[in-house]
């Protein structure tokens, strides 16, 4: 492997990327998937995480263009040079340009976008070309083999720059090649349309709704049909997977995330300093060791914490936590037993319990609809 002069690399672990325009050769969803998978090739073997942005600037700007395109390396028409990317840095540093004169495909025919993108993102992260003809970073495009991606040479190179992934298990450390992540069985990803779908936590977040499940989250904007599926660690690398509860305090642009008897406060993708803190610092008695779920009612100025079939509420005005817990069904008629997740959307609360979802009208003080958990996804 080789790095760039000065061993250029990113000094942060969470990088943003934006697909500035799309090739007409593929459906946009296939381009999104190819780019995301190409980035996951590198995030699986390093602490790096990638967050997709749909507008504004991003560390890695991805674009398709033919011939001359406002930088000093014009493309050369079909064949020859397929794409290139800049070494890490500001402005066009990290950006990846793809030659629109190629025929971009998601198969072994033509020029496979995922395969070329995985190579180019190696440059975006700081690797130059490798002399190893088996390495992904070898400069010449070979027949795309979907089963094998990173060779040991690539892994050694990228880990020379960024170190190993915090969650790499042993067999990957020894293995010489990383299988195609979306094909490996051990990555059984949760299916948002499964009738058995349950959630660890649900919360609003800057106008979106975030559904936490294991190591992943679905991000859903009410005005957008599809949901983005991301790794929790791509937002907050230090957060443990499988959170218990989360709620947003919009007026402070903060989100509070709970796991066990600790909680973190985040603003965007930044964990605020001084966290995690212990649960009792919120005013719970010390025998309270975890919360099932929680939501913040900005209108009331109250935050509700649910544990088993009871709840506590914290009043922001009096800055005090209830002295003792109350039974959930007394305050929320029709909501019985343990709650997995709850969030407020408009004047309704949505309670998730196992595979069931209850819509609760805060004015009428009763359950108004009984829904499937995946109501929010385009199933």
């Amino acid at each position: 492997f080789s790095t760039f002069a000065g061993e250029l690399k990113w000094t942060k672990q969470v990088l943003t990327y934006r697909i500035v325009n799309y090739t007409p050769d593929l459906h946009p969803a296939n381009v999104n998937a190819a780019i995301k998978k190409a980035l996951s090739v590198w995030s699986r073997v390093t602490p790096l995480r990638f967050i997709k942005k749909d507008r504004g600037d991003a560390d890695i700007m991805i674009s398709f263009a033919a011939r001359g395109h406002n930088d000093f390396i014009p493309f050369d028409g079909p064949g020859g040079s397929l794409a290139y990317a800049y070494a890490p840095g500001k402005d066009f540093g990290g950006d990846a340009h793809f030659d629109e004169d190629e025929t971009w495909t998601k198969s072994t025919e033509g020029t496979n976008l995922f395969y070329v993108a995985a190579h180019e993102f190696g440059h975006s992260l700081g690797l130059s070309h490798s002399k190893d003809p088996n390495a992904l970073m070898y400069p010449v495009y070979r027949k795309f083999d979907p089963s094998v991606l990173l060779h040991q040479d690539d892994i050694t190179g990228i880990q020379y720059l960024y170190g190993p992934s915090s969650n790499t298990n042993n067999d990957q450390r020894e293995s010489t090649e990383i299988k195609n992540p979306t094909e490996s069985k051990d990555l059984e990803l949760p299916n948002s349309c499964s009738s058995n779908l349950t959630f660890d936590a649900v919360t609003t977040f800057r106008g979106e709704i975030m559904f936490f499940k294991g190591t992943h989250i679905w991000r859903k904007h009410p005005a957008v049909r599809t949901a983005d599926f991301e790794l929790v660690s791509s937002f907050w690398p230090r957060l443990p997977p499988g959170v218990d509860a989360a709620y947003e305090i919009p007026e402070k642009d903060e989100m509070v995330i709970f796991k066990g008897n600790e909680f973190w406060v985040v603003r965007g993708d930044t964990i605020l300093p001084g966290y995690p803190q212990k649960l009792y610092t919120l005013g719970f008695s010390k025998d309270v060791t975890k919360t099932d779920t929680a939501f913040h009612n900005g209108i009331e100025g109250k935050t509700y914490y649910f544990i088993a079939d009871k709840f506590w509420s914290y009043d922001k005005r009096s800055q005090s936590m209830d002295r003792k817990s109350l039974v959930i069904r007394d305050a929320f008629p029709g909501i019985n037993g343990k709650i997995d997740a709850v969030f407020q959307h408009g004047n309704f609360l949505y309670f998730f319990s196992g595979r069931k979802q209850f819509e609760f009208d805060l004015d009428k003080k009763r359950v108004t609809r009984f829904l499937k958990t995946n109501l929010w996804f385009p199933c």
């Binding site: 390396i73 397929l82 070309h129 002399k131 400069p139 010449v140 495009y141």
Partner: protein, 80 residues
């Protein structure tokens, strides 16, 4: 008819020169494109052959000509 080796040779030279300029930081120094031993071109050609594990002859042999026609990444192998 015998192949027009002169034209093919010229095309091959243009191809290799373009490749060297794009990926090996070769700067044409204005002199007519001639083939003298040990000139910059020969040195650069040896760099390609060395990088790709080909026989390092400094000559535009068929293996090298075949390589420079393959699709590849547009980023240089040797930064100019």
């Amino acid at each position: 008819f015998p192949a027009n080796t002169r034209q093919t040779k010229e095309e091959g030279m243009q191809l290799i020169q373009k490749y060297l300029e794009n990926y090996y930081g070769f700067k044409k120094d204005g002199e007519p494109f001639v083939w003298k031993s040990n000139n910059a071109m020969t040195q650069k050609l040896k760099e390609i052959q060395k990088f790709f594990g080909l026989e390092v002859t400094g000559k535009l042999d068929s293996g090298t000509l075949d390589l420079v026609q393959k699709h590849r990444c547009g980023f240089p192998d040797i930064a100019g």
